[in-house]
């Protein structure tokens, strides 16, 4: 099932090295014994099709045995999104999928790339099935909780007698001394906010982990101005538990000064 038109990458590869080793790009493994095509939705318009083995199938496209490389972000970005598009198409079709990491290409050896792929499916058969069991009926969600910096600062300031006292004293101080007080106040606020963030994080983490099946803490990202991201999570959630998580997040979203972002569902990229 080779793509009819030759892509730039392949023609370039062929010119530089004459006849090239064959390979197959693997997008994902699905628990379905089906042999067929997902259409020309693969990277660079390649036809993504399945290679079945004992009730599992790998979704692949044929390509030369060399990684996809580019210094052009647009080109690279389009490849990555095409990878996602194929994984997602397989996920919708079969309801379960184990995505492979980008640029996983199996090369032909004395055997063909496809034979090597089937041998890998055989070797990993039990392990893959185990992962499918664990992930059955579950999807990945992005959960991000941010703070409104102004609201939180206000709350913290109000709650701390030490800060309140400092604030009162500043008004009655001469300019030079008031400056020093302000510096001190700033430091104190920062410390209190950090302590509160730590406490909040723990409480939120506990609450959220009670209504999801698995959880990964990701690095927090820079949020829009005036907001600070408190936590960035990847959550694995079953269809049955999803309403619990959504309700919990809605509750949090209703709290003044908090912003909740929930994105998904996504194939379980972070949990396989």
């Amino acid at each position: 099932m080779k793509q009819g038109s030759e892509t730039q990458r392949e023609s370039a590869a062929r010119t530089s090295s004459g006849s090239e080793q064959a390979g197959c790009y693997v997008y994902c493994v699905a628990r379905a014994g089906e042999q067929g095509s997902l259409g020309a939705i693969g990277i660079e318009g390649h036809e993504a099709y399945t290679v079945p083995h004992k009730g599992l199938c790998a979704v692949i496209h044929d390509c030369p045995a060399r990684p996809y490389e580019s210094t052009d972000p647009e080109v690279a970005g389009v490849w990555v999104l095409a990878h996602h598009r194929v994984v997602e198409a397989a996920w919708k079709r079969w309801g379960n999928v184990l995505p492979l990491t980008f640029n996983t290409i199996i090369a032909a050896t004395e055997k063909s790339a496809e034979e090597n792929l089937v041998a890998w499916l055989e070797t990993e058969y039990d392990s893959l099935n185990g992962r499918f069991d664990t992930l059955a009926g579950k999807s990945e969600y992005v959960v991000q909780v941010s703070w409104d910096a102004a609201v939180i600062t206000g709350t913290v300031a109000k709650a701390s007698p030490e800060i309140r006292k400092l604030e009162e004293e500043i008004g009655s101080k001469p300019r030079g001394l008031a400056y020093m007080y302000r510096q001190k106040l700033g430091k104190l606020l920062k410390k209190e906010i950090e302590a509160k963030a730590e406490k909040e994080f723990k409480a939120l983490y506990d609450t959220i982990s009670r209504c999801v099946d698995n959880i990964h803490v990701e690095k927090t990202k820079e949020d829009q101005e005036g907001r600070q991201m408190l936590m960035n999570l990847s959550c694995l959630v079953s269809t049955e538990r999803y309403p619990d998580m959504e309700a919990e997040l809605a509750k949090l979203g209703n709290t003044e000064g908090y912003f909740v972002r929930l994105a998904g569902p996504l194939p379980p990229y972070s949990f396989c």
Partner: protein
């Protein structure tokens, strides 16, 4: 402050993070790699790191929208489907607070 929890799409950067850094890794000789380590080319990684920055600063907005349109076109699901297997078009995330601002 009452805000509904929206169901926004995953952002481009969120997808990149997952597609590039997550997923099953095959540890076997049959896998091609560069100097035995990175499956993803060093160049590609650098290019994408640049793209994340560009997306962040809005330089790639037009590109992002174009890709989003392509993705949407390639999928033909009725609008408003909210099943567990719903579409996740590539889009810049719209969060609950912005949804509120618009309302």
């Amino acid at each position: 402050m009452i805000e509904p929890v929206a169901r926004p799409h995953a952002t481009l950067v969120e997808l990149l993070d997952r597609v590039l850094d997550r997923g099953v890794v095959i540890n076997a000789d049959i896998i091609i790699s560069l100097a035995g380590v990175p499956l993803i080319g060093v160049n590609l990684r650098a290019a994408l790191a640049g793209m994340e920055t560009m997306v962040k600063y809005g330089v790639m907005k037009e590109w992002d929208q174009r890709i989003r349109c392509q993705t949407l076109e390639s999928k033909k699901t009725p609008e408003g489907s909210v099943s567990a297997k719903e579409e996740v078009p590539i889009a810049t995330g719209r969060d609950v607070s912005r949804a509120k601002d618009q309302g």
